[in-house]
């Protein structure tokens, strides 16, 4: 079973719940936040191996260039000669009448697999430059083939989240009670519905009277913050064990 943990808004507790849920299920934790992977900040990871390299192409003008600027017209990002902005799509090379665009290859990092010894958790996480292109592809390459995993999605509902949902069998939707988080959460719910995935809905950091429409409610808990500040993975998982267990029970086939 592959479980995507998403919510739309950042900072609602996706990553800590993903860690607790992966520990509960004995599943691999996949950090799908390619531009800002956070799981290593909560865990004490010991690196086991490189899963794969992440390479990218970028376009540059070469000596044959006649200066017509056709390449810049077809590039949505005007990224010719700018390796950070270029996503390597190759449109400019097709458009250039002089065949003067060269697509160069570069290495932007790797996907790593590490172990969290205290939790006995295996974590697959990206170690790339933040400007790596084709985030969806990177997410797909991080998801293990025939093992259970929990995919911790980035904030927002962009390509990496869509990639995670397209590979997942179930979703865990997380929000906090504030209006902005709930607004983003409803968009996340709509996206999950498009994929027809069963979902467990979690309200995190709840006050006393909010729980309508949620399957699991997690009250505000200072211990979670303290464990994050102290980089205490054991304390983190301990504080979230009960809600993680309830989420696991509500997943199809109990996770």
């Amino acid at each position: 079973m592959r479980i995507a943990v998403l919510g739309g808004k950042g900072g609602v507790g996706k990553t800590v719940l993903s860690i607790a849920l992966a520990s509960e299920l004995g599943a691999v934790l996949v950090d799908a936040d390619v531009t800002e992977p956070d799981t290593p900040a909560y865990l004490n990871l010991e690196r086991e191996r490189d899963v794969t390299e992440v390479r990218a192409r970028y376009a540059v003008r070469t000596d044959g260039c006649a200066g017509c600027e056709r390449c810049l017209e077809v590039c949505p990002w005007r990224a010719v000669d700018d390796p950070i902005a270029c996503d390597g799509c190759g449109a400019c090379a097709i458009a250039c009448p002089e065949d003067a665009i060269e697509l160069r290859e570069t290495e932007l990092g790797r996907i790593a697999e590490s172990r969290e010894p205290e939790l006995g958790l295996r974590v697959v996480h990206p170690e790339t430059e933040p400007w790596a292109p084709e985030l969806a592809d990177i997410v797909h390459r991080m998801i293990p083939e025939d093992e259970d995993c929990v995919i911790d999605c980035p904030a927002g509902l962009g390509c990496p989240v869509i990639a995670a949902l397209s590979a997942a069998d179930a979703a865990v939707l997380v929000t906090s009670p504030d209006p902005a988080a709930l607004h983003d959460y409803r968009r996340a719910e709509a996206l999950t519905r498009e994929f027809g995935l069963p979902a467990v809905r979690v309200l995190n950091r709840a006050g006393s009277d909010e729980r309508e429409g949620f399957d699991v409610v997690i009250p505000e808990d200072e211990r979670v913050l303290r464990a994050a500040l102290d980089r205490d993975p054991g304390g983190l998982v301990h504080a979230l064990r009960e809600p993680a267990r309830r989420v696991a029970e509500l997943l199809p086939d109990g996770g």
Binding site: G11, E36, A85, A91, E129, P130, P154, A155, L157
Partner: protein, 265 residues
């Protein structure tokens, strides 16, 4: 001056700080967090207009098309597939127009492919405009909508931009379009990690910036680490009960904005 409010990690208070900055400056403001736009919820505002955002893709005239496959050959994104019929997956089209130019039979004409919309609000307190980009749920072309909004507001000398979360290419696009950036973070290990990566992108984009440490009293230890690590001026904002209504927070944002203008000068 064109100014971005940015914060690598989600939930550090970027949008709250952007709302304060809007109320202090009274400038036209753009919400570029297009997959989850919510700055309009932080400001008292009313919607005035809505416009669709479209890319221009191809429409085929089956009577003219000979299924020669030239259009599919130039389509780098695989949106056009030509076999026994001509097919377009509109969700993959990037609007480059190469297929339209390539067809030898004039069988392709431009058509609109909607990716989202822009909602225009009037903020009651300032009378200024808020432009909010809203990508259609499930669309993968967020960067195109960000680009659209940047191009659309290119001529404005004074503009406040609320950047998307993360530190990827969209964030780089925004940073390339501004004169200065107010970076919001929190004193936690995860936020510091994200801050480091965001600062890498900011340095590559060569944007003058300052850092506001939101909820600095969460942890003195991590606040000090942030202050030690960044090479630009930092401000500490306290934890408050009502962040949007807090004069204390507003004052810190004002000071940080003044500091940012000095950095950028």
């Amino acid at each position: 001056m064109r100014l971005a409010v940015t914060g690598g990690k989600g939930g550090v208070g970027k949008t709250t700080i952007a709302a304060h900055a809007h109320r202090l400056l009274g400038w036209t403001t753009v919400d570029l967090d297009v997959t989850t736009p919510n700055l309009h919820l932080y400001l008292d505002c009313e919607e005035e207009a809505r416009s669709r955002v479209c890319l221009i893709g191809p429409e085929v005239d089956p009577d003219r098309c000979t299924l020669c496959g030239e259009c599919a050959r130039v389509c780098h994104s695989g949106a056009v597939i030509v076999g026994r019929s001509w097919d377009l997956d509109p969700g993959l089209c990037h609007g480059c127009g190469l297929c339209l130019d390539a067809c030898p039979r004039d069988a392709l004409t431009p058509r609109e492919i909607e990716i989202g919309e822009v909602r225009e609000y009037r903020v009651r307190e300032t009378g200024a405009r808020l432009l909010s980009g809203r990508l259609n749920v499930g669309d993968r072309r967020s960067r195109h909508l960000v680009r659209h909004l940047l191009d659309h507001t290119e001529d404005r000398p004074r503009l406040l931009l609320d950047t998307p979360a993360g530190a990827g290419k969209e964030v780089y696009d925004v940073l390339r379009a501004v004169d200065a950036a107010l970076v919001v973070t929190q004193p936690t290990p995860a936020a510091l990690r994200d801050l480091r990566r965001l600062l890498r992108v900011i340095r590559v984009a060569r944007v003058p910036h300052v850092v506001l440490i939101n909820q600095a009293d969460l942890s003195e230890r991590w606040t000090r680490r942030v202050e030690r690590e960044v090479e630009v001026p930092t401000w500490r904002a306290p934890r408050v009960d009502d962040p949007l209504g807090s004069d204390e927070l507003r004052d810190v944002v004002r000071e940080a904005l003044d500091g940012l203008r000095e950095e950028a000068a």
